[in-house]
């Protein structure tokens, strides 16, 4: 009606609602719809305790459970030049970057760290799907090269967790050139006689699969992960027929001989440590901690009747944007 209703009231209202609705206490499982309490969900590494559905997890949260005692040291990644093409679609690329940084609290879409799993020293890298769909640009390329170089310098295996919609279109051809660049990184490890283990997580698609994510000595995937070069929608448009159930999911790829194993998130640490121990002839000194139960002293409050909106909005939607056929 006037400037008070238009301006003052929405501002005041937003102040109140922000204070009163606690965010992210409850997350709804994308698969079975169960409301999951955040502490329980975090303890289970964001795997639904009801149906076993694997939700997106940030590299930091993953590493806290993956490395012994949650302790790891980040490996520095050389900073690439920003916005080399001066790319602009509906938004400027630097603005998209800033928004992603603000949303995730991370600098870029990959985290590299060194530490120990079951007493075995390794280097690990994990891609962050929540940061611009995990897309592979120059930074991700640099991160994989830095991870490989660090692994070679320390004579340690590299474990890589992939998650990406594909190449970062905003870096144009330079994102495509990360395919050969990261392949060079893989070859550095192979030449140094170091194991390279890839864990494909939901989703890993496009140019990422056509380079470092498919070149592991051992290829493991998390259950239900979408893994493909061309996405299901693109294929359906091309061949104009319905695709079979579970097409391009981890289990389907396992059946078609494209993976070594499909392993639940909670069992990855022990399995990878064992494989690495056999490949490198090193003994494991620390047992893998059993998947922690929900802390008994933390009473779980009753779930709210409605799923809180912020959590729902942050839940990753399935099919990511992918860089074409």
């Amino acid at each position: 009606m006037n400037w008070i209703t238009n301006y003052v009231r929405p501002t005041i209202g937003s102040l109140f609602s922000r204070r009163e609705v606690p965010e992210n206490l409850w997350t709804k499982c994308d698969n079975c719809g169960t409301m999951l309490f955040h502490r329980e969900l975090d303890a289970a590494q964001r795997v639904c305790t009801n149906c076993g559905h694997h939700m997106t997890i940030t590299p930091r949260a993953r590493f806290e459970k993956f490395f012994d005692g949650g302790s790891f040291e980040e490996v520095d990644v050389p900073e690439p030049i920003t916005d080399p093409l001066h790319f602009r679609d509906q938004k400027r690329y630097p603005d998209r970057m800033k928004a992603a940084q603000k949303k995730t609290g991370e600098h870029e879409a990959m985290l590299v760290a060194e530490g120990e799993i079951c007493g075995l020293p390794i280097v690990a890298a994990a891609q962050d799907f929540s940061f611009m769909g995990g897309s592979m640009g120059m930074y991700v390329g640099n991160a994989i090269i830095a991870a490989a170089e660090r692994a070679v310098a320390l004579k340690r295996p590299l474990v890589l967790f992939s998650a990406a919609g594909g190449a970062r279109m905003q870096e144009g051809i330079l994102s495509l050139m990360q395919m050969p660049r990261t392949t060079v990184a893989v070859d550095m490890l192979l030449e140094a006689g170091l194991p390279y283990i890839v864990v494909l997580t939901h989703p890993t698609t496009g140019g990422v699969t056509a380079s470092y994510a498919m070149l592991g000595d051992v290829q493991i995937a998390e259950p239900g992960a979408l893994i493909c070069f061309a996405g299901p929608r693109v294929i359906e448009q091309t061949i104009r027929e319905k695709l079979p159930d579970g097409f391009q999911r981890a289990e389907y790829l396992l059946d078609h001989g494209m993976l070594d194993r499909v392993t639940e998130r909670g069992k990855l640490k022990e399995e990878i440590a064992n494989i690495l121990s056999m490949l490198t002839g090193q003994e494991l000194t620390a047992p893998a901690e059993p998947p922690p139960e929900a802390a008994p002293d933390a009473p779980v409050p009753a779930p709210p009747p409605e799923p809180p909106m912020p959590a729902a909005a942050e839940a990753p939607t399935a099919t990511p944007a992918k860089p074409k056929k």
Binding site: P84, I173, L176, V184
Partner: protein, 320 residues
């Protein structure tokens, strides 16, 4: 010249008029049209020169995809002697979207291969429009193995909209096949030279284009995604292909500035499709020069140079 692109319409009108006059003169010998026809020809030539001196990225996409543009097969037939096609991936099938084999280029034995799009409906279907399946990339790996074992340089001609997005291709490991092909390129202990002759479509191109030297025809394109795909993802509007083509910086000129390609091969006036023989000759000459330069280099150095080249990419951006 039958196949005019949409932006060549005014040119088509002028050339059409000139041809009409010529036809009339043939029917009626007393007609003196020389002056008029000469005027029209001059106008057409000027217009052609102007159009092609300022092609926008989107127009370059159209030229790069022109059906009359010479394709891989044309280059091999014209530039090679003793071409001996080699087929199959020894696993599943022979993929006709990637052709290749042994040949002599300027008398020197080489392994030559490339994407072939086909030139009419029948051959396009047979070639799957130049969109390779895993078998194609695995055949490429086999051919590179052969080249490496016998010390033959590898020449690849790149012209694909992208790797084929199909059910079977996915089931048989499209991504793994491309990754292995890229890896094989990087490990070659023999010289490798690639020429983007039309479309360098994403990973489908990279698999056989990770070379010591990458050349590009003047009006060809090389991109992480097609402008159509980019428009529909980032603009959520399939009509924004022109904007996407601009933003992606997919022209040979931009890619040279970024250091992604090493040399631009000039096309005849009005594009390779107006004078295929001349375009093929220019590519042949450029290839010969590159192969000569690389011929004395040892295997370890070739590998090291290739690695250094790709690791160093991204050090410079484009001027604002």
């Amino acid at each position: 010249m039958n196949n005019y692109l949409d932006f060549e319409k005014p040119l088509a009108e002028i050339e059409g008029k000139a041809n009409e006059l010529r036809a009339m003169a043939r029917a009626n010998e007393e007609m003196d049209i020389e002056k008029e026809v000469a005027g029209l020809d001059k106008k057409a030539a000027d217009m052609l020169a102007k159009l092609y001196s300022e092609l926008s990225p989107w127009r370059k996409c159209q030229v790069a995809r022109h059906p009359d543009r010479p394709h891989c097969k044309d280059y091999i037939e014209a530039l090679c002697t003793d071409y001996t096609p080699l087929a199959g991936d020894r696993n599943f099938a022979d993929d006709h979207a990637i052709m290749g084999g042994l040949a002599r280029m300027g008398g020197m034995p080489v392994v030559v291969m490339g994407h072939e799009k086909g030139h009419d409906t029948k051959s396009r279907i047979e070639r799957n429009f130049g969109m390779a399946r895993p078998e194609g990339y695995r055949k490429a790996v086999r051919l590179m193995d052969l080249a490496d074992r016998f010390g033959l340089p590898v020449v690849t001609l790149v012209d694909t909209p992208g790797a084929f997005p199909g059910k079977g291709a996915e089931e048989r490991g499209q991504s793994e096949a491309i990754a292995r092909a890229t890896q094989r390129c990087l490990r070659l202990g023999v010289p490798m030279v690639s020429v983007i002759i039309g479309e360098g479509g994403s990973g489908g191109a990279v698999g056989i284009a990770t070379a010591n030297k990458v050349l590009m025809l003047e009006h060809s394109i090389y991109s992480v995604i097609s402008p159509e795909g980019c428009a529909s993802i980032l603009w959520k509007d399939a009509d924004k292909t022109k904007e996407a083509a601009d933003a992606l910086r997919l022209t040979a000129q931009d890619l040279q500035q970024l250091g992604v390609i090493d040399k631009i091969v000039k096309e005849p006036l009005g594009g390779a499709h107006r004078d295929p023989a001349e375009a093929i000759r220019a590519v042949g000459q450029a290839l010969e020069g590159q192969l000569k330069q690389l011929s004395g280099v040892g295997g370890d150095d070739l590998r090291a140079n290739r690695r250094r080249k790709y690791l160093g990419l991204g050090a410079k951006g484009l001027a604002a």
